[in-house]
């Protein structure tokens, strides 16, 4: 598993303990200038031997480059067969077996499996750990394509380890000529806890948001649509309004009741219970992952259907954006020169 973190103290320990018990053999972490205690958690796990830490200084947030680097390291130096590119707020939940078991079931000629991201909604911060409070999951009812919504449906991917893989921003896709996606099957859910407390929004929004802004200021890469919500979070933190930003999104007990009654929220205690089990047990061991029930599978299928509807619209937008980029690139001088050089080389070879 690869992990890119910045100031994730409230969730990192749980994240590492969970995945090491869910079938992950090794975690490669890039720590982007954390200052909130994340460094100490990482150092402790590093000493235990299953976590390797790469440290980046405070600077532009070069996500694509770092994640691609880690994914390649997994193949080149750690003998990995599969790579999960995670974020600290994601719990990758295998359906009906450990991560190793579900991935081992994938036939050789397929190299990418898709994972559906399922969002847990924020609730008031009463001082308890996030997993004890955040026990309701959003049931999407319609494709949300608003880039500023934290609740857009999306997928991430898990891929076979390959020394020349390229990750797309956010780990939502992999570009590799030799990895074929296995579609229509989601053996792993990605349980997502993006907004956990005002203090987390404040900390993360400020430092990480600033690094993201630095990245776009220093790069040609166009801002992807999915970052609008991160930008809002950053703005709120910079203006000192993290608290009101969080409160506006957090659900109270009445909201939760209404949401459940309307079928928009579903209680989901899996992460809470898994973390309780791990906490009670001390070191080591593995977590059980029973096969989901019919109702769970149906509910999951509906999330996938909503995502499918969103996909069509989003892919169309993405295509428009890519067409513009290709057009721009093809008009730039170096490409024309490169093309002329290639033509010349081809002619020379033919002689």
């Amino acid at each position: 598993m690869t992990l890119l973190v910045r100031d994730e103290r409230d969730i990192l320990e749980e994240h590492l303990a969970f995945h090491l018990a869910a079938g992950v053999d090794e975690v490669i972490v890039t720590d982007h200038a954390s200052t909130d205690g994340t460094e100490e958690v990482l150092a402790r796990y590093e000493r235990q031997g299953r976590v390797r830490v790469l440290r980046e200084l405070d600077g532009p947030f070069r996500q694509r480059e770092w994640v691609t680097h880690m994914a390649r390291l997994a193949a080149a130096e750690h003998g990995a067969d599969w790579v999960v590119n995670g974020d600290a707020d994601e719990f990758w939940w295998p359906r009906g077996g450990s991560l190793q078991e579900v991935l081992a079931a994938v036939p050789r000629r397929y190299g990418i499996v898709q994972s559906l991201v399922r969002h847990f909604v924020p609730v008031a911060d009463d001082g308890r750990p996030f997993q004890e409070r955040m026990t309701y999951r959003l049931r999407p009812t319609a494709p949300v394509n608003d880039p500023a919504s934290p609740w857009r449906p999306y997928r991430k991917v898990v891929h076979r380890a390959s020394p020349d893989v390229v990750l797309v921003e956010g780990g939502h896709a992999v570009r590799s000529a030799d990895l074929q996606p296995l579609r229509g099957w989601y053996p792993i859910e990605c349980l997502h806890f993006p907004l956990r407390a005002p203090s987390q929004v404040e900390r993360k929004g400020r430092a990480w948001g600033a690094a993201v802004e630095k990245f776009y200021a220093s790069s040609e890469v166009p801002r992807s649509a999915g970052t609008a919500y991160h930008a809002l979070q950053h703005d709120a933190a910079v203006r000192g309004e993290a608290e009101s930003y969080y409160d506006a999104l957090a659900l109270g007990p009445d909201d939760v009741g209404e949401g459940v009654a309307a079928g928009l929220l579903e209680e989901d205690l899996r992460v809470r219970d898994a973390l309780r089990e791990l906490a009670g047990r001390g070191e080591g061991g593995t977590l059980p992952f029973p096969r989901p029930t019919t109702l769970e599978t149906a509910s999951f299928a509906i999330d996938a259907a909503v995502l499918g509807e969103a996909d069509v619209i989003r892919t169309q937008r993405w295509l428009d954006d890519l067409e513009r980029r290709v057009g721009r690139l093809e008009r730039t001088a170096p490409v024309r020169i490169e093309r002329r050089l290639r033509d010349l080389a081809r002619k020379a070879l033919r002689r």
């Binding site: 079931a105 296995l182 229509g184």
Partner: protein, 327 residues
Amino acid sequence: MRVAMTLVVRDEVDLVGEWLRYHLACGIDQVIVTDHRSVDGTSELLAEHAGDGRVRVIREEALEMRQAEWVTHMARLAATDHGADWVINSDADEFWWPRDGEVHELLGAVPGRYGVVRALWRQFVLRPERPEPFAERMTLRCRPVADFRSPYHAQVKIAHRALPDVVVSEGNHDAFGDGLALVREWLPFEVLHFPLRTEAQVGDKFLRRRAILGGEHIADAIRRLDSEGLSAYHDAVLFGDEEVARGLGDGTLVEDTRLREALAAIDDGASTLPAWTPTLADDVDLALDFQLALERDSWVNLDRRAAALERSIARLEGAATLVGAGS
């Protein structure tokens, strides 16, 4: 909740009895059958169930087969006359196998805003004729074929919410009507499909459909029957023992005895299907068969095109950087 099934049948006495026993044991509340000019005993077999309130038979004497029209009519009857909530439109050679749950449970789990779920054909291949019934001797499945001309091509079928004005497409691959949004990537049912069973049945099946605008596989079969003759066509689509040994060896054929076992249990007096829980390996096996059908979804093509563009952008950007660094 009530689930109805519709069936158009013509001279399929070799499996229509099994079809009824099986689906009634699945818990189907109402079966509506259009019997199209059967003369082989199918009509008599259907008549044996006349006392069973769950089976309604409509006799159709039209010369030509008007499948979509009849199925649409039956699907509407399911809504208006039989109080059905969901309708499964089937052929006699299709056995709808619920995955990991009971039929009502699976369909009941679909939220109101969705109205169509898919089922995937699992293709059982033609084997040499022996006296046993089809389900006893046809226990091998092949991977579906992309080429539509093959009798074993990849295809999805659908179940839909009952609507008094639904329209079902030719071949039962789509249903249209208010609120019939599709759950695209979930397969609550597999359709165990036995399209070709004996040489005589193969001949009848395609010759009978000569007059209709069927799928490409029907047109192709008819063309080959005309040019090569029945026994040459039969031999071409038959899986002989050598082919079977090879297929089982390289994984292109899979042994699947689920229907045989279910029918045996029903014949032993079971009133419901034996419990079956898919394993991870079963899930992957189904996902593999699903790939070709998914390829036809428009967004997969969009996604492919986007991936190709991203690769060319990476190449163009790489070229720009290289030349930029060199100059």
